[in-house]
């Protein structure tokens, strides 16, 4: 019993720290990456004894310390409780959703203890992620409302309408993946992507459902409220949207939520479409290549390799989203709604019907 609790705690700590460290590293990638794209030098001011670490000291040490020591300003005439609650409500669902994503296969510890490397092992993991995505609206709504500021309120309303609209397309693209792999358990979905198509091609989700992947990617970026869907923040119109009136550590929490959302979307893309922790041709005994060659590897090394593969994939898709941000212009609000309801939703629905028909045709009518 106590061992179980310790294992669960360690797993939860690992998962939460992955996403928190990702948030910091992504901040660095965003600032240095945007500088690279715009032909600037980027963050390079802060240093410890002359060591700037290519801006890492700036974004991972100096910035957070500055935020922590800034004055916390609460505007007049606001509901102080809700104003303070909003950043926490915003950050919580993202962290928890990330914890539901498996970051490795079963780890066999000495003494016959098997640990499934997933911080929240749930039979309905897919629904849990969707539930947390739908809770995410509250942080935006509360932040906008509790600031007693018209720009904030507009940002909050824009943000919630946008998130509710794109949640539909996102949910439908996930439904398609559930139908394809026949399970609501995220760990099972990743395991199902381990077999090889035709004996040599890794059976990752994107090969079965390329349309669902595109829909999920676009809806995911819209859910995280980043360019080209960053209308809730729209600096040129709304100052900074729903977190205009926040400063200090509360602003930092909104800022972190942004990057944590990027990491969570990347983790979900990895899990559904790019085989999660799967390494191509790596079986629980070691590498087995299509030609017949095989290589036996220690169990712990395999688990570490799977963990590394998962981190690499998540890092890649986070990087992709950040590069997208500095490449595309912002949409107009009516374009955003038109695209969400009249393009994304029908495409996702048709994709679902076709998938259902194909599954029935392949398996035979029940």
């Amino acid at each position: 019993m106590i061992l179980l609790i310790i294992i669960s705690l360690v797993k939860a700590l690992i998962a939460v720290h992955i996403v928190l460290i990702f948030a910091g590293v992504l901040g660095w990638i965003e600032r240095k990456g945007s500088a690279l794209i715009q032909d600037r030098i980027g963050a390079n001011r802060a240093s410890i004894f002359g060591f700037a670490g290519a801006g890492l000291i700036n974004t991972m040490a100096a910035d957070p310390l500055k935020f922590l020591t800034k004055e916390d300003i609460i505007p007049d005439g606001v509901d102080r409780l809700l104003h303070t609650l909003a950043p926490c409500v915003n950050l919580f669902p993202v962290l928890v959703a990330f914890c539901a994503v498996p970051f490795g296969d079963v780890l066999h510890l000495p003494g016959g203890v098997d640990v499934s490397l997933q911080a929240i092992p749930l039979g309905v993991g897919v629904l849990f992620v969707l539930a947390m995505a739908s809770i995410g609206v509250y942080g935006v709504v509360l932040g906008g409302w509790a600031s007693n500021n018209r720009f904030s309120l507009l940002g909050g309303i824009r943000g919630s309408a946008q998130m509710i609209s794109y949640e539909l397309a996102m949910g439908l693209s996930i439904v398609v993946m559930v139908m394809t792999f026949g399970s609501l358990d995220l760990q099972e979905i990743v395991r199902a992507q381990g077999h090889l198509i035709g004996g040599w091609l890794p059976g990752w989700g994107i090969l079965y459902q390329p349309v669902a992947f595109i829909v999920f990617l676009i809806a995911g970026i819209a859910e995280s409220k980043r360019v080209p869907f960053d209308l809730p923040e729209g600096e040129s119109e709304l100052v900074s949207g729903y977190f205009t009136e926040y400063s200090g550590i509360k602003y930092l929490m909104f800022f972190m939520t942004d990057f944590a959302e990027v990491a969570t979307i990347a983790a979900l893309i990895t899990t559904f479409f790019f085989g999660g922790w799967q390494v191509p041709y790596l079986t629980p005994d070691g590498f087995v290549f299509p030609g017949g060659a095989s290589l036996h590897i220690n169990h712990y090394v395999i688990v570490l390799m799977q963990f590394g593969a998962y981190l690499l994939k998540v890092l890649f898709w986070s990087w992709f989203q950040i590069m997208l941000r500095w490449t595309l212009p912002r949409l107009r609000y009516d374009q955003l709604m038109w695209f969400g309801w009249k393009r994304m939703l029908p495409v996702a629905l048709v994709n679902m019907v076709i998938t259902a028909a194909l599954i029935l045709a392949l398996q035979g009518a029940p």
Binding site: D79, L81, L82, L85, L122, G123, V124, L127, F128, L130, A131, A133, S134, I135, V137, Y138, V141, L142, G144, W145, L153, G156, I157, S160, I164, E167, L184
Partner: protein, 168 residues
């Protein structure tokens, strides 16, 4: 599940439920309701009903309550002053509610609704799983299920018609 977890959860649940009724500001009351729904979902988890727990959050906390908040925000509802008039009505309502609470307490302590009885029935394997619920829903209760979806369709169409009428 252990009674300690249940106890903590029950206290939180009752407190957030009281928050819905006692909060003066409408938005605080709505947020308390969201919290109540959240704790209720955890309660379902303790009862091995994972699907119901997830749906509880997705449908009620994630969709319906967001619309409530929207209405409160857009109408800019302010804090309600304590209702003073109609004393007779208030006492009458309190009396009826107290009767219901008493009746519920009576059935819980003496009747067949005792928690011990419910626990005594062994939970079948796979109870509350998505497969079982889906099977029941699409075989035994298919007629009611389809009727409900038809009802929702009628509501959606009528909402669109009403919205169009106001535009002209």
């Amino acid at each position: 599940m252990s009674p300690i977890v249940f106890g903590i959860l029950a206290i939180l649940l009752v407190m957030s439920g009281l928050g819905v009724v006692l909060a003066r500001s409408p938005i605080r009351s709505a947020m308390s309701l969201v919290m109540t729904l959240f704790f209720l979902a955890v309660m379902f988890l303790l009862l091995d009903a994972q699907l119901v727990a997830a749906l509880q959050i997705i449908v009620y906390a994630g969709a319906i309550m967001v619309l409530f908040l929207f209405v409160i925000m857009l109408l800019n509802l302010q804090e309600e002053p304590a209702a003073l008039g109609r004393v007779g009505l208030r006492y009458g309502a309190s009396f009826i509610v107290s009767l219901f609470v008493l009746a519920a307490a009576h059935f819980l302590t003496t009747g067949t609704l005792q928690p011990g009885n419910a626990m005594a029935d062994a939970v079948a394997p796979g109870f509350g799983s998505t497969e079982q619920i889906a099977e029941r829903l699409f075989t035994q209760h298919i007629f009611a299920f389809e009727l409900t979806s038809f009802l929702l369709l009628v509501a959606v169409v009528s909402a669109v018609v009403l919205a169009k009428k106001n535009l002209q």
